[in-house]
């Protein structure tokens, strides 16, 4: 699909919230625990192709999380430090990511929506695209801007 500017599509919300930011699409799965510095949001896993990139304020796209349940703590801690992604879009539901975002939201009054989106839509989004995410009790939407 090309020319998706201004396109809106639906997702399934794991965690509600409203956010916008530039997309970062991960080339490979990432464990937040051991993979991301929670004080800066920078990827520190040396085996990851995007090591050194910052996830702070980004709309993060990854198929699913990976590894230890301690990743929930790292995500909540990154939210506390203001270093977390703005939103996370997944291909498969991931309770570890959802728990981190829920707890960070509860503790620090922040919003970090986590949505599961379809594969076709997921593939439309490239790193650097502007994306806004809106998930309330009634609907969960992702909108691509130019």
């Amino acid at each position: 699909v090309t020319g998706v500017s201004g396109r809106t599509f639906r997702g399934h919300a794991l965690v509600l919230g409203i956010a916008e930011g530039e997309a970062t699409v991960l080339d490979e799965p990432l464990s937040f625990w051991g993979g991301v510095d929670s004080s800066t949001g920078v990827i520190v896993d040396r085996r990851h192709p995007q090591v050194g990139s910052s996830l702070r304020g980004r709309v993060l796209l990854m198929p699913s999380g990976r590894g230890s349940s301690s990743s929930s703590s790292v995500l909540a801690e990154a939210m506390r430090a203001g270093a977390a992604p703005a939103a996370i879009l997944l291909l498969r539901p991931d309770p570890i990511v959802a728990i981190g975002a829920m707890v960070g939201s509860e503790l620090y009054g922040m919003s970090l929506p986590v949505l599961v989106v379809g594969e076709e839509e997921y593939r439309c989004i490239r790193t650097g695209c502007s994306v806004s995410v809106r998930a309330d009790g009634r609907r969960a939407e992702v909108r691509l801007e130019d």
Partner: protein, 423 residues
């Protein structure tokens, strides 16, 4: 998702704001996993007491200060401190203070201060077959599901204590029959019989099984029934959980849900089969060693926590072998519960005479305890070998318990050639 009236009352704050928060987390996870309803759990094992930063403390404080308490018997995993030997901690005092506050907050919520990653070694805390529990800590999860036949999902940070407070978990994952059947078979008939009779095979085999399971429930065919002790199954499960997030395995003819291969498969067909060769075992063993360097800084035993049975093997090895080399530290991590039994048998004196340091309430790869990191650390644990290089920044050498003790005494890595000659 279907909620009961009791669930709704908990959400509405009947037991306070902390319990309502716990229930929101449980329900949120239920929605995320597509569960249709919640289930009662009989017990919980909580891992959140290990300090991972301010957020972990903020969460526990929020619950404890609201007066939330657990509603089922709940054991605690390791913390960041050895409360019986506080001098062993070599980290920053501010972190220690917060780690201590975190441990206290969980006790205030009514959890038992067991401080062990092996709650299954405490006879009072063993769930029975078929019982639903909410256990955290990957090695405890795989032991509960596989060896005890209890039912737990892979619980971890935040959801563990939330489930303990609510007494409820989403009806999903390994709580459900359909997700417990084996889908990948590991055929062990190609391995030399002598190797199957030795402890050292089990962590290596677990590491290999984790790497080749690809997220599917594995069934092992060909483990000799008489030789699969709980300690060996503990080592196997902990390794498989480390290398491949395995939360349940079946050992045909040994574990409770696999009296036969057909029952392990629940009448279905396996998606794939893996013929385990001596070459695969050799590769898995070698992957657990990161250095050729021989001059040891330390030896670390007891990941997961050493059992009384393992102490019964270690103590005579040390009594026969003599003192540990003055430049090598030998740590044995265990629970304070098992330590009490060790003392009662008079074994602690023998351990101290040999120069061994017993560590309780925590573990040497999750907190700064190692005195020396300027040389390789030897271990008989695949889990320790897997995590320690990244967690505490050391090179590791994997070996059998006998090799570890022999090496600790001589000061450099010693191998038992006979042990590995079949590979």
């Amino acid at each position: 998702m279907k909620l009961t009236e009791r669930d709704e009352r908990l959400l509405a704050g009947e037991r306070g704001e902390g319990a309502a928060l716990a229930m929101r987390i449980v329900v949120g996870v239920g929605r995320a996993t597509g569960a249709e309803e919640l289930l009662d759990v009989a017990a919980a094992h909580v891992d959140g007491c290990l300090y991972h930063g301010q957020a972990s403390l903020d969460f526990a404080d929020r619950l404890a200060r609201s007066g939330a308490t657990v509603s089922v018997p709940t054991t605690l995993n390791v913390g960041s401190l050895d409360l019986l030997h506080p001098g062993l901690y070599r980290g920053d005092p501010e972190t220690a203070r917060k780690a201590r506050r975190l441990m206290d907050a969980y006790v205030e919520m009514g959890c038992e201060p067991t401080w062990t990653c092996a709650p299954y070694q405490l006879t009072a805390n063993r769930p029975s077959a078929g019982e639903h529990v909410a256990w955290a800590e990957s090695n405890a999860i795989v032991f509960a599901n596989s060896v005890l036949g209890a039912r737990t999902e892979r619980y971890g940070d935040f959801i563990d204590v939330s489930a303990a407070i609510a007494g409820r978990v989403p009806a999903s994952g390994l709580h459900l029959d359909g997700n417990r059947r084996a889908r990948v078979l590991f055929d062990l008939s190609g391995l030399p019989a002598r190797l199957l009779e030795h402890d050292v095979l089990y962590p290596v085999l677990g590491y290999l099984v984790g790497r080749h399971s690809g997220g599917d429930v594995p069934a092992l065919v060909g483990l000799p029934a008489g030789s699969a002790s709980e300690d060996r199954l503990k080592a196997l499960g902990a390794a498989a959980a480390s290398s491949g997030s395995v939360a349940l395995f079946h050992a045909v003819g040994i574990t409770p849900e696999a009296p036969s291969l057909d029952e392990a498969l629940a009448g279905g067909e396996p998606a794939r089969s893996v013929e385990v060769t001596p070459e695969m075992v050799r590769q898995a063993r070698d992957a657990l060693t990161t250095t050729e360097s021989k001059r040891l800084a330390a030896v670390s035993l007891g990941t997961p926590h050493f059992s009384l049975g393992e102490f019964a093997e270690l103590v005579p090895l040390l009594e026969e072998g003599g003192r540990i080399h003055p430049e090598v530290d030998l740590y044995v991590s265990t629970s304070r519960g098992v330590l009490a039994d060790v003392e009662e048998r008079g074994w602690l004196d023998a351990l101290e005479r040999a120069g061994a340091q017993v560590v309780v309430d925590t573990c040497t790869y999750v907190t700064p305890i190692l005195r020396r990191k300027d040389g390789p650390v030897m271990t008989n644990s695949a889990k320790w070998a897997h995590y320690a290089p990244a967690n505490v920044g050391v090179e590791v050498v994997f070996g059998s318990l006998e090799e570890c003790v022999l090496s600790a005494i001589s000061g450099e890595v010693r191998r038992d050639g006979r042990l590995w000659q079949d590979l």
